[in-house]
Symmetry: C2
Subunit: 468 residues, 2 copies
């Protein structure tokens, strides 16, 4: 069920970079052209349906909509896990969190008291790009370990870090119960630190201005690095609850406070793309917008919407792991809708290919170089997606078909339910996972079971970092 995306046509000037990975093309500034800048803008808990370009009726996102119109709207783009820490570990390393010890059933993410983190042996997008002279910044939520300096952004290839290092609802102090603190939030309820590199510069972080300050940091980094290639990983703290936004965005959205927050993120995206244009960098900067996992539905209207997809954050239905994703690179990638499958783990191999950075052969990568899809030069190398919850494979997508081997509500009290035969859905025809067609397709289930066995055979035991 691979789909050739006929609407994407290669841009010849780019190809010599993208596929040869060489520096030898005719361009005014060789260094810049063969080393494009990269920016990943990550939202936190934003749902598949939470912007205009993905169909939301009352959240205004003119900047994201324009970004989608000028670029590529990816409609089958996944994350490595349905919660924060393992999703981010997957994105930055190109590897499933089960290979890095960054996932667990008991403690699903890193907490302020967690002793574990992303090990020094792991290679992130930042550390890979550093080998090619990139200036690198991590702005926003890290969530890959805070106990040891070895787990910090600075230890993982980032020259610069600015942000709240874990979720913005952590470090609770005395106050109302958790649900009340979330639905009527005050800054003082959440004693989260704001850090610049290894230094805490504010505590509790003033979350009302956090999106604005992250944006300013990103714009500054762009301006400061006009003359050399850069990589910015802007991992917004919003719209994870508690929801905060700047004064200018209070009560502006029909969608309520959640809408205000998304509309401030939309403003932020606009600022960053404008900064690229103003500095003459837009045609040399590849920007990706996506989210770390689906909407946190247990918070009702304080959580987002997965649109037509089923489920949300924490679960392995589509709404938990398929994200509203936009690729933007004016003049380099052909605008359109891309329906091919890809994941955040594909970003590392793709950026490395585009920058000519080499990756060591001593480990398994779960990501693919998807530049053939981006530039329309070949078929999608990815035909399978694994849906992990903690350290277990709950579901697998192969082409159009998704088999659920284990089901469990995202945050409900129910135990895991083993599905045998697995539930089977055709996601192309039935994106909302409504019509189980297992009885009709035993051969597909057999094939997916084989993929599962082959996949499991590639796993080796690693120390669980989240339970430390």
């Amino acid at each position: 069920m691979k789909t050739l995306n006929a609407r994407l046509i290669a841009v010849s000037g780019l190809l010599s970079v993208g596929f040869a990975g060489q520096h030898s093309i005719a361009a005014a500034d060789k260094t810049k052209t063969s080393h494009p800048n990269f920016i990943i803008i990550l939202a936190d808990d934003m749902g598949y349906g939470d912007m205009g370009a993905f169909g939301h009726p009352t959240i205004k996102t003119p900047n994201l909509d324009n970004m989608a119109h000028q670029g590529q709207r990816w409609t089958n783009f996944y994350v490595a896990a349905p919660v924060s820490t393992p999703s981010r570990a997957g994105l930055l390393t190109g590897r499933l969190p089960v290979r890095t010890g960054m996932c667990s059933e008991k403690r699903r993410v890193i907490f302020p008291d967690s002793k574990g983190g992303l090990q020094a042996s792991e290679i992130t997008i930042a550390s890979a790009l550093k080998t090619k002279g990139y200036a690198t910044a991590c702005i926003g939520k890290w969530h890959l370990g805070t106990y040891s300096p070895d787990y910090s952004p600075n230890a993982h290839g980032f020259d610069y870090y600015f942000g709240i290092p874990y979720s913005n609802d952590m470090d609770r102090v005395d106050g109302p119960d958790y649900f009340s603190a979330i639905t009527k939030p005050k800054i003082d309820y959440f004693n989260v630190p704001l850090m610049r590199n290894s230094e805490i510069i504010e505590r509790p972080a003033d979350q009302t201005t956090i999106t604005k300050r992250y944006t300013q940091e990103a714009v500054n980094f762009i301006k400061q690095n006009k003359e050399k290639p850069f990589f910015i990983y802007l991992a917004n703290s919003m719209p994870h609850v508690p929801l905060f936004r700047s004064k200018e965005f209070e009560n502006i959205s029909l969608r309520g406070i959640y809408g205000d927050v998304i509309e401030e993120l939309d403003w932020s995206v606009g600022k960053i793309l404008s900064a690229l244009k103003e500095n003459g960098l837009d045609e040399n900067t590849f920007v990706i917008f996506t989210s770390d996992n689906g909407p946190w539905l247990i918070f009702n209207e304080f959580g987002g919407s997965a649109g037509l997809l089923k489920g949300g954050k924490g679960g392995t239905d589509e709404g938990g792991m398929r994200e509203p994703t936009i690729f933007w690179w004016p003049g380099k990638i052909k605008p359109g809708v891309v329906m091919d499958m890809a994941t955040t783990m594909d970003i590392l191999p793709t950026f490395c290919k585009l920058a000519g950075a080499k990756l060591p052969n001593d480990r398994i990568y779960d990501g693919f170089d998807i530049s053939p899809v981006i530039f329309g030069t070949g078929p999608d190398p990815r035909d399978v997606v694994f849906y992990y919850r903690g350290t277990q494979v709950f579901a697998i997508r192969k082409g159009a078909y998704k088999a659920h081997f284990i089901t469990q509500s995202e945050y409900g009290p129910d135990a895991k339910a083993i599905q045998d035969p697995p539930l089977l859905y055709n996601l192309n025809v039935d994106p909302s996972e409504k019509y189980n067609i297992a009885a009709k397709h035993p051969e597909v289930i057999a094939e997916i079971k084989k993929i599962l066995q082959e996949h499991l055979s590639t796993l080796v035991p690693v120390e669980n970092q989240l339970e430390k």
Copy 2:
């Protein structure tokens, strides 16, 4: 909860037409400019989520997406009823079907053996525009009566009619059971006529080429009427089941046959907009794309998707009556997303205003002239939407709030359930109607109950045309 749409800015050249309704403005062709052409493209049973611009992940609709980008994407646009006949009666007359006798509980639509229809006393968009010299064509599904010539399109202001006069699943002949006939359709199972004016020209209509032929008819009518103002009401038979598409569209969509059908409709829209451009008429033609009601969910993957909205065809949840709607008029209306409320019943007063056509004062209209919203010159005149099922008000939206007084599944065996207090949702914050807030807002319920009583007092008994 009115929303001023700050993104829409008046185009001064247009205003003198739109608001004065006069013919005296400076333009090369006075007649054309003061009498813009109008085209309504209606889909049949297409859901709110069934195109790219409204968030579908696997249906490719580049023409509709471009139309939305060049025009206005309306995200709170409603129909007069959740099924075909009353919805179409409301659209063409600007009046709720309860005022025209065109709705019923028992027979919810017109059938081939129905003796009733739209009465001669009713004024349609076509008959109103004829007073200003418009050439008028109805192409496609009529569904407002076939028993008498008095109920025909030609009797209601249309110079020309071409189409299948009712639903394409009617006139069943012997064959497999209904569900099988729908899911594995053959043309011969449905002995529906194709008519040109009052003449049957083909029976059974070859439905595989129906979208293509409707498109050709519309393009021909555009070409034939370059020199005078025209109104085309193109009411597609698709994607109502049974689903048929041309050879060229077989198996092209990831979404299966339903996707093939929508992608052919998308092609059709592209052809029509291209014909306008090629004939130099695009800046003088106001085109509206919408659907008659929500997706027919009982047909599973053969029905569409309402996206993030609840429910579908037949019911009064949002998915039944909120439609994927695009307004297009290059150079005249400011592109953007419009979140103001409007309905198909607003089209008649708006077109009449733009064309300077007068409507008689002897009847109640339920539509408003929404040109202030379209051109960004003033607030939305509409603040209330009535959700009728048959002759009963099941729900009312006032501003952001929707109260459900009666609920019933679209096609299930359950009886009506009276809701007292009514279920109350804030549709801006909670478009999926998940969080009942009735207990928190008794004052809103009281206000909506008053609106209901006032509305009911405007109704007078009329003969039920659908039970005849």
